[in-house]
């Protein structure tokens, strides 16, 4: 982590868009029913970045991740994910965990994950799905219906679903919410491992220490504006907390 950070000197995001760019947003604004949710956000995330997006509730973190996922379009500005604006080829490279688990209650964990593996054309979908569930420590409930699962378990199944096709960009929206200490460490391990394999990761959450520990770069949103974009190693928990708490 220190090596990768030391290569990229200067301000984060100074690099121009290129083949090695995973996410490139230029002047992205998003308004929902006339209300600005994101305002002129510009950011470049090179491949292999691990980025935490922080900000108060309603700051626009989830919306930013949805824009990056191409699920929702920007009202203004340019969105490029691996050089393309949208389409099946881009979606094939994206994995996403949102607030909602995107799982079917009546199906088992394994069926849910296998379905998405099949949709992504993963060879040996069922065994790959089982492997992912085991990695996330929910192999034991692979045959239980999602309906019967607690929030924390369902959340890990959702993460298995997002990772089953080996995405190049993982968008994880408050993935640690509702997890106990053990699962939290497990999920941290899984994210770090995916990152180690070259996956670009964008998470958002509220835990300052965890964000600084896991990620190499921190973005702070305030009412839809990007007010801070800084390397994690240059920040301390105190300074970041102050930045977050200093909201009017």
């Amino acid at each position: 982590m220190t090596t990768s950070a030391s290569i990229r000197l200067g301000r984060p995001g100074a690099r121009a868009g290129s083949a090695s760019t995973a996410v490139s947003l230029r002047g992205v604004s998003k308004s929902i029913d006339g209300r600005a949710v994101l305002s002129e956000v510009s950011v470049e995330l090179p491949r292999g970045s691990f980025v935490s997006v922080m900000g108060a509730n309603g700051a626009g973190k989830s919306t930013l991740l949805r824009v990056m996922s191409t699920l929702t379009g920007a009202t203004e500005g340019e969105v490029r994910i691996f050089g393309e604006s949208r389409g099946a080829a881009v979606r094939a490279k994206i994995g996403m965990v949102a607030h909602e688990t995107m799982l079917y209650d009546e199906l088992t964990a394994l069926e849910n994950v296998t379905l998405f593996a099949r949709l992504h054309g993963v060879p040996g979908a069922a065994s790959r799905a089982r492997l992912m569930l085991e990695q996330l420590g929910v192999g034991a409930v692979a045959h239980a219906a999602v309906r019967s699962m607690s929030r924390g378990v369902a959340q890990r199944v959702a993460l298995a679903r997002a990772l089953v096709h080996g995405p190049e960009l993982l968008l994880a929206d408050e993935v640690f919410a509702g997890l106990d200490v053990g699962s939290r460490e497990l999920v941290e391990g899984v994210l770090t491992e995916a990152w180690g394999k070259g996956c670009t990761i964008v998470t958002c959450g509220h835990d300052v220490e965890q964000s600084l520990r896991l990620s190499e770069r921190v973005l702070v949103l305030e009412r839809g504006r990007l007010v801070m974009d800084e390397w994690a190693h240059r920040l301390t928990a105190g300074s970041l907390r102050e930045r977050l708490g200093g909201r009017a």
């Binding site: 929902i32 029913d33 006339g34 209300r35 309603g58």
Partner: protein, 226 residues
């Protein structure tokens, strides 16, 4: 609204109402009374132009829907709404005048004749548009849904027509018009077209103003989040 614009709008309405008055005078005093239908035949002068303008309004809803999906600009949605309101108004006229005609011709207010059924289904189609509109809170979602519905409903119109053609028609009408009748019909056509276009434009203008006001309220923080 500038002074010239105000005068133009007022002039338009004066012209439209004058055309309506003229058309009414022609229908009352110039056009002869029909041998079979009597005075009731005269609703026909209102019925046919209203039907034609209704198709125009439905077409405008369709065009506005396509335009919105293509450009995603709010004014297309306002146009769609304005046209749909006028389409409902006109189809109500068509339906009522059709019923009055039917009462005279067949002695009952309602028969499941192809024409009446067609008018009724069209009325339902566009009333459903207005209800659908009223029940969607999010502005963007509403615009998309109404655009799609407006397109689909317009595609439905010829199918409704073809399906009602299959229904048994007890009194196939063939209307023989004399020259004064044609003249009267032409006058009504002009008056109804002017009025319909004016109503669409007026509703559209009101919607634009409302939208501008909402945007202003949002910008100044009066409707937005704390």
């Amino acid at each position: 609204m500038g002074g010239t614009r105000r005068i133009a709008v007022a002039g338009y309405w004066v012209l439209s109402l004058a055309a309506l008055a003229g058309a009414a005078w022609l229908a009352a005093y110039y056009a002869p009374v029909d041998a079979d239908m009597g005075v009731i035949q005269k609703v026909f002068y209102f019925h046919l132009p209203a039907a034609l303008c209704m198709f125009g309004a439905c077409g405008l809803v369709f065009v506005a829907g396509v335009g919105y999906l293509w450009q995603r600009e709010g004014w297309w949605d306002d146009l769609s709404h304005a046209s749909a309101r006028v389409a409902v108004l006109l189809s109500s006229v068509v339906l009522l005048t059709g019923m009055i005609w039917g009462k005279q011709a067949w002695g009952t207010w309602w028969t499941w004749s192809p024409r009446l059924t067609f008018s009724l289904v069209l009325w339902l189609l566009y009333v459903a548009y207005l209800v659908l509109r009223a029940s969607i809170g999010s502005e963007q979602k509403r615009a998309v849904v109404c655009a799609v519905y407006g397109i689909v409903a317009f595609l439905d119109v010829p199918l409704v027509y073809l399906s009602t053609k299959l229904m048994p028609d007890i009194h196939p009408e063939s209307i023989e018009l004399e020259r004064p009748m044609w003249v009267t019909l032409g006058a009504w056509m002009a008056a109804v077209t002017l009025l319909s276009a004016g109503l669409v434009a007026a509703r559209y203008r009101v919607a634009r103003l409302e939208r501008a006001h909402e945007e202003w309220a949002l910008r100044t923080g009066m409707g937005g989040p704390a």
